[in-house]
């Protein structure tokens, strides 16, 4: 009984990612084809080499046929997976495990979401038939309860708190402004962020991730085959996943200042990867900044800062593009929007670029190590799923 992980058994040898945008002129199938074609350009793997597929999409369609039809896959094993906002990462996890098991030589994970066909703002999920007693709020409202709780617990006045949150938005916009695939490519000031209309609780427009369509994909093979397909593979060091029991919603002990599911997934991932000090051992991290307070709390859940101290690091610029530990160098959900099925793979795509030194000059980070982390969460404070991966360019 243990989480053994598959450290250094599987490598990512190809990745692609579409621009994330309000793609009025592209449907789900177009986004899939674009991401997959972009992936083939990055690798020596050909379509005929791929043995099995995992498609991550929350609402894009049901069954593997959603992927098999647009790609014209004949008689291949294609599985659709869904796990809230971690769906893209879940597709990668399934593909990696399939290869690690020896069942297949080459597998592809595709994540896609066509959000902007609904006619509504934001992300909207239809609940299955139910008894009508579970009041659903917007995600913004649920996450807005974190900031005041965090401020109260650590004795931070709300003005300072608002500076901290604004700093996170400013940083992610700064990074996104340097990314041609990002939805929002404009730097903002802290004043703009703080003056934006409130949507839920204390969260304004600039505290919230955008909403965009997009797709991303990855090809995985056994580690020993990696150099056959690319000169610069990313070796998977850890894939961790935690589904909460929803206890936080009903447990009077939960205080809305941390996400135990994320801390749990991180702990598992670090054990798999053999990481003891993530702050110094990672070159960068892509985290699920759906709202500014989420990113703040994640810095502590992921072990980048001690409890109650991340806000100081944020103000000190520790997580800026050229800071001590760059967080979301691609601009994050803030700049990319959040096509749920795609985001996890989009994060991995940034690791792919940065660790291989292929990010554009204006946002290439200084690599203090050869490892990077991606983190996804789905659900709400108190009721969450969380994914953490660690990848690196070298076999340990």
């Amino acid at each position: 009984m243990a989480s053994h992980g598959i450290k250094d058994q599987v490598a990512i040898v190809g990745m692609g990612c579409t621009p994330f945008a309000e793609h009025w002129n592209k449907g789900l199938d177009d986004l899939i084809v674009d991401a997959v074609e972009d992936t083939y350009k990055s690798t020596r793997v050909k379509k005929a080499d791929v043995d099995a597929y995992w498609l991550g999409t929350v609402q894009g369609g049901m069954s593997g046929i959603t992927l098999a039809r647009p790609l014209q896959l004949e008689g291949k094993p294609v599985t659709r997976v869904e796990n809230y906002c971690t769906t893209g990462s879940e597709a990668l996890r399934a593909a990696a495990y399939a290869v690690a098991s020896g069942a297949y030589d080459v597998a592809m994970a595709v994540g896609v979401e066509k959000v902007k066909d609904s006619g509504f703002q934001g992300l909207n999920a239809q609940a299955p038939p139910n008894d009508g007693t579970a009041r659903t709020l917007t995600a913004a409202a649920m996450f807005s309860m974190v900031a005041p709780a965090y401020a109260a617990k650590y004795g931070i006045d709300m003005d300072t708190m608002s500076d901290v949150l604004a700093q996170i938005a400013v940083k992610n916009h700064y990074n996104g402004a340097r990314n041609s695939r990002a939805q929002f490519r404009r730097e903002i000031t802290a004043e703009t962020c703080k003056a934006s209309p409130r949507l839920a609780g204390g969260l304004g427009v600039y505290d919230c991730a955008g909403v965009a369509d997009g797709a991303a994909a990855a090809i995985v093979v056994r580690a020993e085959d990696a150099y056959k397909y690319t000169d610069k593979p990313l070796f998977i060091k850890a894939l961790a996943f935690t589904a909460g029991s929803g206890a936080g919603l009903v447990d009077p002990g939960y205080d809305y200042t941390h996400f135990p599911e994320c801390a749990g997934a991180a702990q598992d991932a670090y054990a798999q990867a053999g990481i003891t000090n993530p702050r110094t051992e990672l070159a960068m991290a892509e985290v699920h900044d759906c709202f500014t307070p989420t990113e703040l709390v994640l810095m502590e859940d992921l072990g980048f800062a001690e409890r109650g101290t991340a806000w100081r690091d944020v103000l000190d610029g520790a997580f800026a593009l050229h800071g001590d530990l760059p967080i979301n160098p691609d601009g994050g959900l803030k700049s990319f929007g959040h096509p749920t099925g795609a985001s996890g793979l989009r994060m991995m795509f940034e690791c792919w670029l940065q660790l291989r030194g292929e990010a554009p000059e204006e946002r290439q980070i200084a690599l203090k190590s050869n490892k990077a982390l991606t983190h996804n969460l789905g659900g709400y404070p108190g009721e969450m799923v969380s994914f953490v991966s660690v990848v690196g360019t070298e076999l340990d």
């Binding site: 509504f120 239809q126 008894d131 913004a140 409130r198 609780g201 206890a247 009077p252």
Partner: protein, 477 residues
């Protein structure tokens, strides 16, 4: 000894200042205020609120529930069953809707006083009318509940019946086609003439049969949707004596058939702590006249009403006329651009009847951990199917944290939402009601109230919300 064992009224917190009507339209309105049901209240939820108050601390078995309203939430489907479920009454007890006119409430009370073993008579009404109409500003919304039965040592009678009489007549004074919001009225003088004659006849007969002189009546309640007739009849029956009970129309408006029971509740509550022996005449004018004669017992000296109407009248929240018009669907305002919720599943709702309607969670027998909603597997210790019911409807709680959601779909945005920890254990994230965003604070004390979350495919989604305790009770436990 048969009589009234308990009684309560419920007046929604919202008040429309009648002057706002003329300010907008240039006509209509008047002075004073009217009570307005919240956007999440209908006659079923108001009935539940009144019934919960009447049943607070009262233990009775073999109870029949009668629900009267002129403005039912459902036709064909019984509304009383939702009240029955919300009160957590056993399946072996009946629950019936008792007609749908301004005469039903007092009729049900008379019926209960005369017959069925133990009966909870519940009534609730919402009064609508076209903008600027007398019905719009003169009407009001309320609920009331009266528990009637044989007195026992543990549940004594507050008042007993001395007698009663009815006079019935088929004539057209006021009418409304089911489903219509507008009630219509014939020339007022015709109704006034008929009601005066019918009331005098029935009142005289009731007094004669009870062997009472008119001069022995201490309190006279006269109610009617025909307010002019009610006033005229009250004047005549009082014989010029100062016995006419304030009809509350200045502050809450006339609340159709429910009004008689509401005023009776208000009156009896005002007599709580008195020595008893007061005689009361209740007269309702609706397609005839119904008279109920009551006398308070010495037991009323010990009665402590759960939440007196007088107390409810003190706690009000002004409602802008624009909100009133949108809540009454007289104007359609732009909804949030979010998908509307799906309709409630009948089968899922039935399976969770105790949770959805009576707010009953589960408590792990071993660890005492409270689960809201009920769970088969314990969150602590993992015991399976070892739970007992945890009724939470009457348990107060404290706001741990909260948010105001300005984007989510709601019949009346924004939504105030709080994480509530209940006294004695249990946490539930729940919508707040009857409050504005600036009134919500961490540490605020709340109580539960039965509401309608939304309506989809004509299915009303009833569930519970939390309501801030009044300022003076914020420190209570």
């Amino acid at each position: 000894m048969r009589g009234i064992l308990s009684i309560s009224g419920y007046v929604p917190v919202h008040r429309l200042d009648r002057r706002e009507v003329a300010a907008l339209f240039g006509s209509g309105g008047g002075k004073g205020t009217r009570a307005v049901a919240g956007h999440d209240e209908d006659t079923t939820t108001m009935g539940v609120e009144a019934a919960r108050l009447a049943m607070a601390g009262v233990e009775v078995s073999d109870l029949a529930l009668l629900f009267a309203t002129g403005t039912p939430a459902y036709a064909d489907k019984t509304n009383a069953t939702a009240l029955h479920a919300a009160l957590g009454r056993p399946a072996s007890e009946p629950a019936w809707d008792f007609g749908g006119s301004a005469r039903s409430a007092v009729g049900a009370l008379g019926f209960a006083l005369a017959s069925y073993p133990t009966t909870l008579v519940v009534s609730a009404d919402r009064r609508d009318g076209l903008a600027t109409s007398t019905d719009e500003s003169g009407g009001g919304d309320s609920g009331a509940a009266v528990l009637v039965g044989e007195a026992t040592d543990s549940v004594p009678a507050l008042a007993t019946q001395l007698g009663g009489a009815s006079a019935t007549d088929e004539f057209l004074d006021r009418w409304r086609v089911p489903g219509d919001r507008r009630s219509k009225q014939w020339e007022e003088k015709f109704g006034e003439q008929r009601y005066t004659a019918l009331a005098l006849e029935a009142y005289g007969r009731a007094l004669r049969q009870a062997g009472l002189e008119a001069s022995t009546i201490d309190h006279l309640i006269v109610t009617s949707m025909h307010t002019r007739a009610a006033k005229a009849v009250a004047g005549k029956l009082s014989g010029g004596r100062d016995i006419i009970v304030d009809d509350l129309t200045q502050s809450i408006g006339q609340t159709a058939g429910t009004h008689a029971l509401l005023l009776l509740a208000h009156l009896l509550e005002s007599l709580a702590g008195s020595a008893g022996g007061a005689t009361i005449a209740l007269v309702n004018l609706a397609d005839g006249a119904d008279v109920v004669l009551l006398k308070t017992t010495p037991e009323i000296a010990h009665w402590v009403p759960a939440k007196p109407v007088a107390k409810q009248l003190e706690r009000t929240s002004p409602l802008p006329y624009g909100k009133f018009l949108s809540w009454r669907q007289m104007v359609t305002v732009e909804p949030p651009r979010r998908p509307e919720p799906g309709r409630v599943s009948a089968t899922a709702a039935w399976r969770s009847e105790e949770w959805k309607f009576a707010f009953v969670g589960s408590r792990d027998r071993t660890t005492g951990t409270v689960h809201l909603p009920p769970s088969r597997v314990s969150r602590v210790g993992g015991a399976v199917d070892d739970m007992e019911p945890a009724p939470m409807a009457n348990v107060r709680g404290t706001i741990v944290t909260f948010t105001i959601d300005r984007m989510v779909y709601s019949p009346s945005p924004p939504v105030a939402f709080a994480i509530v920890d209940f006294d004695g254990g249990g946490r539930f994230p729940i919508e707040l009601t009857d409050c504005t965003a600036d009134q919500v604070a961490i540490g605020g004390r709340v109580e539960m109230t039965f509401r309608k979350l939304f309506t989809q495919d004509d299915i009303h989604d009833y569930f519970w919300k939390a309501r801030l305790l009044p300022a003076e009770s914020q420190g209570d436990n």
